[in-house]
Symmetry: C2
Subunit: 287 residues, 2 copies
């Protein structure tokens, strides 16, 4: 039997924390009174267990819960469901850490390209990297392409769509990607310095695939996705089907107050007024 460890911060009166921690472990596994679980195999191998409870501040406790890996089926959506499903609805619970087993880490290995892959793409082994977002949304394709060219001529490494730029009538996806990619390529030919245009992929899974195909045909190497908007399972399918892209992750719809930002987004934490301007590398689900 193998167990992953999910860690939560629970707000509670001291005299109730043990009961609350135990309730969370049951809620995230069998979801019924233990008295109703008559099969010893299920009690021993399926029911989640409280591993530790540590006070972190007044009325706040760090609670580690061991969840049986077999309950996840080794699958993205069910992993989310098991680690922060129903307890995401409890207003006194924040999901703060996750420790997977070696077997699960093999299925969720993190970024395929990583920072080394991006540096190789840019032929920039050591220097600081730069990225710029094209704003505001509402600009037409010609204006976006001109802005894309300007950024690339100025030496910006990655020029991304603002995450509000989707597939609107004023800048339809296919036309925009063709124009911006061409403008970027033209600048790269002029400067001799690598630069990449990163279009924003957003939509239902069918649209994501269609748009990814268009981007690939146009020679795009870097794309922007908001995994929480498209859904983590859809993001997984996309990455599996288009492994050649470098994916930049946008935190939109991240609901950071419920999932601790360092867990959801890696090493980066949003501040109230600057959340929109930074795209980060998505390294879910490795904490």
């Amino acid at each position: 039997m193998a167990w992953l460890t999910a860690t939560y911060v629970i707000e509670s009166e001291p005299e109730r924390i043990e009961e609350r921690a135990q309730a969370l472990a049951i809620e995230q596994s069998v979801e019924c009174p233990l008295e109703a679980v008559r099969d010893p195999r299920i009690r021993d191998e399926i029911v989640a267990r409280v591993a530790s409870i540590e006070p972190v501040a007044d009325g706040r406790y760090r609670v580690a819960v061991r969840i049986a890996t077999q309950t996840t089926g080794g699958e993205t959506a069910q992993l989310v469901n098991m680690i922060f499903g129903n307890c995401s609805l409890w207003d006194n619970v924040q999901f703060v850490d996750l420790e997977l087993t070696a077997e699960l880490l093999a299925r969720f290995p993190g970024p395929r390209h990583g920072i080394a892959g991006i540096r190789a793409l840019l032929d920039a082994p050591r220097r600081p990297l730069t990225a710029a977002a094209m704003k505001p949304q509402g600009m037409r394709v010609g204006e976006l392409a001109a802005m894309c060219r300007t950024f690339a001529l100025a030496g910006v490494d990655v020029v991304k769509d603002d995450h509000g730029i989707a597939d609107q009538a004023y800048s339809p996806f296919a036309e925009r990607v063709r124009a911006c990619q061409a403008a970027n390529a033209e600048a790269v030919r002029a400067t001799g310095k690598p630069s990449f245009y990163a279009p924003y992929l957003i939509g239902t899974p069918r649209t994501l695939c269609e748009h990814a195909r268009i981007a690939r045909e146009e020679g795009v190497r870097v794309v922007l996705v908001a995994p929480m908007v498209v859904g983590l399972p859809a993001f997984r399918d996309l990455v599996d089907e288009f492994p050649e892209f470098v994916y930049l992750a946008h935190p939109s719809f991240g609901g950071a107050a419920r999932i601790a930002p360092p867990l959801l987004f890696g090493c980066w934490a949003p501040t109230r007024r600057s959340s929109s301007t930074t795209a980060v590398m998505w390294n879910w689900p490795q904490a």
Copy 2:
């Protein structure tokens, strides 16, 4: 120009609420200082506007924001992105209401079957309806089928998988659906009273489609989905591809503290200890 109205509750000092409301409107539309928006068309037609600010309690304000419908592209994922994208990361903001235009409502019309469709399916025009969940997860297929038969023989209208029952080694999806659907049909033949087994569909979009096809082939009419786990855009694709199913929605991963439960789940509000036992009809995005 058409505008939808999204409403938020913002915690703020009285002297800063106007500034915060305006910052939210900009964050959810052009995401840059208004001074940088030089095109009058974008200022007039794209930038979101604060429509009203009303105090609701000490330090809490109800803020209505008008968002240009053209920014949504009429598409599920981008609609989510526009109404609660970046501002979901602000810990002083809760998304509480949504008013769509007639044009958007035509694209997002709500439940296809609704309560009337479910009553027709059950031949139960007026009486209270019943549903039961098969628990605990960890049971093997034979045990689940026996429980499914027992519930149907007892007259339960809808017998659903617990939302922890996915595609684990101890109860693989295809085998489970075949056995439970057969057990349910056997009970219906014995009692003459309609009853429906509702399997839980969970996974990446590809898995959702595969499993929906299996369920359809087995004669399943009602399914359970957690839209926030699979992602709202993936849920939309699924419903569009399999319109014949009645969908029961599970609130798992709903993060209710950030999106007001009456908005996310319709008329139902979770309580801390009973969130898991009630499946509700999903009527997103109509509030």
